[in-house]
Amino acid sequence: MESRNTQLAVGFFVIIGVLALLFLGLQAANTSAVTNGETYKLYAKFDNIGGLKERSPVKVGGVVVGRVSKISLSGDYYEPLVEMTISKQYSEFSDTTSVSILTSGLLGEQYIGLNPGFIDDTVEMLKDGDQIYDTKSALVLEDLIGQFLFSQGND
């Protein structure tokens, strides 16, 4: 039964490989529901997106609700337009919601912070494909230093 033992050993070898792949997929990689599942898209225009990248997280109060899916320039004035893919689970944002580009920690990655707006009878809810107009651009360190030096010079 030489060949049966060989087949058993190869079978276990393949099973070990599949288990290792499962371990990598489930334990090491990011397979959270936010990027799968049903999503809808929101758009926002910024003056400057700083170091924002595609696949950067979109957070509400630190909780990831979606990801940046596309960054492009739009309009006659080439304004950066950011497409955000948000989980359907969080579909109740009003159109008074504001977005800003924030940095995690002092040197960390940049992400989009959503601040949900107030809700009453006069405001509408954001739907798939809507644009958020209340935006705050990324903090660019060079601009900040420039402004600081300029204000120092005025004193």
Binding site: V10, F13, V14, G17, L24, A29
Partner: protein, 265 residues
């Protein structure tokens, strides 16, 4: 024609001969692979052969892969910790260990070990078959040695190495976890959650598997061709075996740079 002119011409001729030999070798290797792989597969006959080769190429390589994966992961954990702790960033140990294993060390070190452990054995085995004229005997009996000997060994290597690379990465991450979390006291939850937020299925794991598939193809191909085209003497087999390990290792390292530049550049 004076003496210096003669030697210069000899050099040029030597260069030409080397070039022609290299091209002929590459062509022979290509045709060997094509003739071994193209054709109607006979699953009932080739399945037991493939199993036998998967066993000797894959299963028997598992131990060295697991042990070296564990130790490389532990070393990464230890070295990464001593550097990251200076910046108070020891929670980034998880992604550092996972990304370096999945993207680079898993596929590359597995391919290097595979070239040394299984590739050299393949070359020596086929070289000896050639030296003892077993390959010619097969041909005499009307059995194509390329289909019977080369093809199952190629597929066994091609299927085994990605599995070995995945096992290597998984065991290495566990080694990093053992050293980082259990020994040096990095926070358990942060180790895994920061890793999960930085490692992506498509970008990191799938690209690592693609890399190991390419390495598997190249290493197995080189090993088989060196064995099949060796000079059928004891010196020839020894040279071919050495040449397999050297050529395969260089090819893996060179290709790794190209693949990394394409995938992550």
């Amino acid at each position: 024609m004076n003496y210096w002119g003669e030697t210069m011409l000899d050099r040029v001729a030597a260069l030409g001969r080397t070039t022609l030999d290299t091209i002929a070798g590459a062509g022979a290797a290509f045709f060997m692979l094509m003739r071994a792989l193209i054709g109607k597969p006979n699953l009932r006959k080739s399945w037991p052969l493939l199993m036998q080769q998967m066993y000797s190429v894959g299963v028997l390589s598992l131990l060295i892969i697991v042990v070296s994966g564990l130790f490389i992961g532990m070393v990464l954990g230890l070295q990464g910790y001593t550097i990251l702790v200076d910046f108070g960033a020891e929670q980034s140990l998880g992604p550092m260990v996972a990304l370096s294993l999945l993207r680079e060390l898993g596929p590359v070190v597995t391919a290097l070990l595979f070239a040394g452990r299984a590739g050299s054995a393949l070359t020596a085995e086929i070289g000896l078959m050639k030296a003892t004229e077993q390959l010619s005997s097969l041909e005499m009996m009307g059995v194509d040695p390329l289909r019977r000997v080369i093809s199952p060994r190629f597929w066994a290597g091609f299927y085994s190495m990605p599995i070995l690379a995945i096992v290597f990465s998984a065991v290495g991450i566990y080694g990093g976890y053992l050293v980082g979390v259990r020994w040096l006291g990095v926070d358990d939850g942060a180790f895994w959650s920061v890793m999960q937020s930085n490692v992506e299925w498509g970008q990191d794991i799938v690209n690592g598997i693609i890399k190991s598939l390419v390495f598997a193809f190249v290493v197995t191909w080189i090993a088989l061709h060196k064995g099949y085209s060796c000079t059928p003497t004891s010196v020839g087999i020894s040279r071919a075996t050495t040449s397999t390990v050297v050529t395969a290792s260089l090819a893996v390292l060179g290709l790794d740079f190209v693949l990394t530049a394409l995938m992550f550049g």
